[in-house]
Amino acid sequence: MSVAPVTPAVPALAGARSAARRPRHDWLKQLLVITGLLVVWEVVVRVYDVDPLILPPPSSIAENSVSLIADGTLIEAAANTFWILLQSIVVGSAIAVGLAAFGVFSNFGGLFLRTISSIMNPLPGVALLPLVMVWLGFGTKAIIAVILNTVVWVVALNLYTGFQATPLTLRRVGRSMQLSHFRMLKDIYLPSAVPSALTAMRMAWAYGWRTVISVELILGATAGQSGLGSFIFSARYNYQVEDLFSGLIAIIILGLLIEQTIRAVERRTAVRWGLLENNT
């Protein structure tokens, strides 16, 4: 065979065009978004001449926040509440994984999960409070119980959907390998439900914050330890609107940090594996 392969010359490749596509300075862009929102806020407050008792301008909130951070009040309160929330979310997610697994491994489990969550999920805290107080008293345990009721359902429902959407072929591979229920869960259902799980985490934190703030006032203003919820409520009752907003800003900053963490996990898992589109 006398065929001389004709290889076309490859043009010189800058390589730069495609290399710069990776998501960088994500936090910088986020900062930009936030700055934009702050500017809108400041302008609205000034243009509509909003009473500072209702909505103070960001500039004066910033001033106030600096002094609150300097004297440690804000950081201590935020740390206390964050810690409680973290515990609740860890415990709640564990319970939720169990429920969702029960739901996906047994037909009855699915029905049970859907029934109980459509019963428990819409129940407002007011219904649970008396019971919680009787059985757990005041203090951290009670707070955690109420937050759990928020976290468990949001995580369980999202995970359950994610588990159910696991591709049939992958589930079949697992069954042919005769994996135990535990391994099916850990190695097949969970990785494949990572996008749903991360959304669940986003919402668990968000609703967890909402709940902890309102519950802390009622259940958790324990002597030694005061959290962000008590801080915010006492600010509200004492018309210290700037304090209130400083508290909210602490929540927002923590929320953004959590979002960044979740996003990093997402990029390293779901996006990398091609389960999610990456549009940073």
Partner: protein, 301 residues
């Protein structure tokens, strides 16, 4: 309608009340439901704004959506000190506030141990201030129990007391009455012993109210005074009004609750309360009665 007093006002005014379904707001309900308001301000349009606390009402005043309400004196003062534009038009009631505990545990505040929890409605409430005053008298330190306060709405607070979730409940009727029906409970502290006949609920008007027709303030305040009078003279009628408004469970029970309070325009002692709050740092603005009480209405009270 054409009344002799309101004939000149072209359009019928709109009155916006911030209300809540409990006995503190009873005078407003009576004023409306017994036709007293209609008599003083004929054809007035009414708007009700349901609120959960004085803070909501104050926000309504700030944003110009609330004309009149009843507030706890101390809540009023806290808001006023933070520049909420409202003033006291009249006293409303000297609600009886009682600190209740299980029988035999506390003879006085001195017996309260550091671990004991005291339930009270919310920061800045009358209960907080009265307790601070009593603490100053009995223990010598206004802030003695600050760390033991447990903000807890009713009926959670009473339930918590029953279940030993809290050791003491600083509450008012009808919740205090309900507790005291049970012989296992007793009163540890009565607000009367601390502040006497001080008006603890006050009738408040927004500064903006009646800008176009200042006589409205006067008329409304008069109507309010008449309503208080009616409650005192015919508690049966008032009890029925309350029941119609879904407050309380029966006319008899309501009568008992009404009897526990004194409904009066008198404002005595509010100055002392204000002075104490300023002195102990609860408010940052020095409160002179002439600043927070509507002077133009002095004659109507």
């Amino acid at each position: 309608g054409d009344s002799d007093e309101g004939g000149e006002s072209a359009a019928a005014p709109t009155l916006r009340f911030a209300i809540k379904e409990n006995f503190a707001y009873l005078p407003i309900y009576v004023m409306i439901d017994e036709g007293i308001l209609e008599k003083h301000i004929p054809g007035a349009k009414l708007e009700y704004i349901g609120v959960n606390s004085s803070v909501d009402a104050a926000n309504g005043v700030v944003s110009g959506q609330v004309d009149a309400t009843i507030a706890g004196t101390t809540s009023f003062l806290t808001a006023w000190a933070n520049n909420v534009p409202w003033k006291i038009a009249s006293g409303s009631s000297t609600a009886q506030i009682r600190l209740i505990a299980k029988k035999g545990r506390y003879a006085s505040l001195k017996d309260i141990k550091p671990g004991d929890r005291i339930a009270y409605p919310s920061p800045g409430s009358i209960q907080e201030i009265v307790l601070a005053m009593a603490a100053k008298q009995q223990v010598g330190n206004a802030q003695a129990f600050k760390a033991q306060l447990q903000p807890l709405g009713e009926p959670d607070a009473s339930n918590a007391l029953r279940n030993d979730g809290v050791s003491l409940d600083f509450t008012q009727s009808p919740f205090s009455d309900k507790l005291l029906e049970d012989p296992g409970y007793e009163v540890v502290l009565d607000s009367k012993d601390v502040v006497g006949d001080t008006a603890l609920g006050v009738f408040v008007l927004s500064d903006k109210f009646g800008k176009d027709d200042p006589s409205l303030r006067d008329k409304l305040t008069k109507a309010f005074a008449e309503a208080l009078d009616l409650i005192t003279k015919s508690p049966d009628k008032a009890a029925q009004v309350a029941l119609n408004r879904k407050i309380g469970t029966s006319v008899d029970a309501n009568k008992a609750s009404i009897a526990a309070n004194t409904y009066t325009t008198a404002l005595g002692g509010a100055e002392n309360l204000a002075a104490f709050m300023y002195q102990e740092g609860f408010i940052k603005r020095e409160a002179k009665p002439s600043d927070f009480i509507d002077q133009t209405l002095a004659g109507t009270r």
